[in-house]
């Protein structure tokens, strides 16, 4: 036995076992929930405030130019939505309804906002999930396949990624449509029926995301591969491919996870344009319609949806960090 161990005690190795960890966890969860609620409330308020600044009264805007509606009809509509009341009253009434889970009714479509969003969520989730899966797959292939080796392949992959990142999704969509739907007729041009119709929109949405992910992933991989622990691992006889998969990939995952917030934003945002180009129904198309028509309840509903998605995803991301990186688990 080494003599050193009998010398004197090491400094405290681990923090004292967390005292009363359950209440602390609860407190953290409560704080998290409260924060989430604050973000949601803030988002609703921002949207409400923003739309109050829109010039022109909502009813005129709603009816559009060239309407035959008489002033009486306009007044009736105004009354129905409480638009004749003072703004603060409208705001608090709205919040009151929100608390009871009532998102209100779309001014323009005259249907409950919750129903509208519910109807449109499916196609967008489908599109987003397909795009995300595809993007992650492409990025993994590109990054793992080229990180730190084969300079020519790496350069080629980098160029492709840069191109993907630099190309607007609507532009990619148009090119794909032209090539595969109009010229080659491989894929249907429109709609959301079936898998075939999902391919082009998903690819369109996925390419820029894949480009970004691949860049970040490779950078992460290369950074990790330069770390001493990789040298240590290799000195144990671990092969270079195994080092990437067993050691480096997990490290590279951290910056990728950080990107997730950006990712959801870019998928949701991309959906607006991609759904427009491909004539697909969905949240993106609904968003475009709602904002351009100043359909306040619908806009707030969509804003709340986005904020909710964001909040949920941030929570998941934080959880994921803990899973990936044990260093973050203490404290």
């Amino acid at each position: 036995m080494s003599t050193g161990t009998t010398g004197f005690a090491e400094p405290a190795d681990t923090p004292a076992p967390a005292r009363s960890s359950a209440p602390r966890l609860l407190r953290a969860a409560a704080r998290r929930l409260l924060g989430a609620a604050a973000v949601l409330l803030g988002a609703a308020t921002v949207a409400f405030a923003a739309l109050q600044l829109v010039p022109g009264d909502p009813v005129t805007v709603m009816l559009g130019p060239g309407t035959a509606a008489t002033p009486e009809v306009k007044a009736a509509i105004q009354e129905q939505y409480g638009l004749d009341r003072p703004v603060p009253v409208q705001y608090f009434t709205y919040l009151g309804h929100l608390l009871t889970g009532d998102l209100g009714e779309s001014y323009q479509l005259q249907r409950p906002v919750a129903d509208l969003i519910g109807d449109q969520l499916g196609p967008t989730v489908q599109l987003g999930a397909a795009a995300l899966g595809l993007a992650v797959l492409l990025a993994l292939l590109a990054a793992v396949g080229t990180a730190g080796r084969r300079p020519a392949l790496r350069a080629l992959s980098s160029l492709a990624e840069l191109l993907a990142v630099s190309s607007p999704s609507y532009w990619i969509g148009i090119l794909l449509l032209t090539a595969f739907s109009f010229q080659l007729r491989v894929f249907p041009v429109a709609g959301d029926d079936g898998f075939a119709a999902l391919v082009l929109p998903a690819v369109t949405l996925a390419l820029p995301v894949a480009g970004m992910l691949a860049q970040v992933l490779r950078e992460g991989l290369e950074t990790a591969l330069g770390k001493p622990f990789v040298l240590t691992a290799r000195s144990r006889g671990v092969g270079s491919a195994a080092v990437v998969l067993r050691h480096a990939l997990r490290h590279a995952a951290v910056p990728v996870v950080t990107l997730t917030g950006w990712l959801t934003g870019s998928l949701l945002g991309g959906a607006v344009l991609v759904e427009s180009v491909f004539g697909r129904p969905g949240i993106g198309a609904l968003t475009l319609q709602a904002t351009t028509n100043k359909d306040l309840p619908l806009v707030i509903g969509l804003v709340l949806l986005s904020a909710l998605v964001f909040v949920v995803i941030s929570a998941l991301v934080d959880l994921l960090y803990l899973v990936i990186d044990p260093r973050l688990r203490t404290d």
């Binding site: 973000v39 803030g42 988002a43 191109l163 990142v165 532009w171 904002t291």
Partner: protein, 303 residues
């Protein structure tokens, strides 16, 4: 500068202060300065030069008018007379793409400039303005960050109305929270950095300290990020323009041109393809240069 009451960061002694880790002594690769600049960089610089000429003096590159219509030559395919073909009104697309550089770049540039200014002010205010300012501003940033930029931009356009300036502002609004975050985080780092402490140790007055050390070092990283951000802003602005929220006609703007060209996908591909290619090429150039700047910056500060 509240250095005497630094926030309860873990005690400095907690860090291993015994020895700085030494880099493995693998010799540095041949000095980068001596290496031939990569082809990509040269190409990007050449393209940038071309873009700048197009933006500043498009007339030098094409004598055709981007606005004058020649109905007789409508939808001519690309050829010797019209390199990029003509559009529906017989306007020379090459000239239009060239003249489109200025409004398109201005959109991206303006949006980025607004976003940087706003982000810097808010980030600094949050980092240096005390706990309350920080709380309020960062909660607001949280809220804005929770919304996809395009939704924010759409909302902003709804409020502000369409048109170049408003599109710039709308995109800036969408990007401000992100930049503010970066500036705030950098400011907090810089505030605790060794060189600010060194300056405090020299008895530098607070305003001088902020102007001379905190501001430039906190904003520097964001400026570098902003080069890449410029590409994003350019694409986003063209996107809004594509949705018909951009500058007024007949000003040739790439996003609007692309949107118009959409109609002719099946019949006259060139009307939509070239403006789109211009957007992609510009964003590509900006990305290549931005990334390079970023790499250089990191090298400079991290040694």
């Amino acid at each position: 500068m509240a250095h005497t009451t630094v926030e309860p960061v873990p005690g400095p002694d907690a860090a291993p202060d015994a020895v700085l880790l030494k880099a493995p002594e693998v010799p540095a690769p041949a000095a980068p300065a001596r290496r031939r600049p990569p082809l990509a960089l040269l190409l990007a610089l050449a393209a940038l030069a071309l873009l700048l000429v197009a933006a500043l003096a498009p007339g030098l590159l094409s004598s055709a008018s981007p606005i004058e219509t020649h109905p007789a030559e409508a939808l001519t395919p690309p050829g010797a007379a019209h390199w990029f073909g003509t559009d529906q009104l017989g306007r020379d697309l090459f000239a239009r793409v060239l003249h489109g550089a200025r409004p398109s770049l201005l959109l991206g540039l303006g949006a980025t400039a607004f976003a940087i200014t706003g982000g810097t002010l808010l980030g600094l205010a949050a980092a240096l303005g005390g706990r309350w300012a920080d709380q309020i501003l960062m909660r607001l940033a949280d809220v804005l960050l929770s919304l996809p930029p395009i939704l924010l931009a759409l909302l902003a356009v709804t409020v502000l109305g369409t048109g170049s300036l408003n599109v710039m502002l709308a995109i800036a609004i969408a990007f401000v929270p992100g930049y503010a975050r970066i500036v705030r985080a950098e400011t907090l780092v810089v505030r605790r950095s060794g060189y600010v402490e060194a300056a405090v140790g020299l008895g530098l007055p607070r305003p001088l300290l902020i102007v001379r050390h905190v501001l430039p070092n906190a904003v520097g990283p964001m400026l570098v990020l902003a080069t890449v951000g410029f590409g994003t802003a350019l694409i986003a602005a063209a996107g809004l323009s594509f949705l018909g929220l951009g500058p007024q006609p007949p000003s040739p703007e790439w996003g609007a041109m692309l949107s118009q060209g959409r109609r002719f996908l099946a019949t006259a591909w060139w009307v939509g393809v070239f403006p789109g290619a211009a957007i992609t090429a510009t964003a590509l150039v900006v990305n290549v240069l931005g990334r390079r700047a970023q790499a250089r910056f990191t090298r400079r500060t991290d040694a």
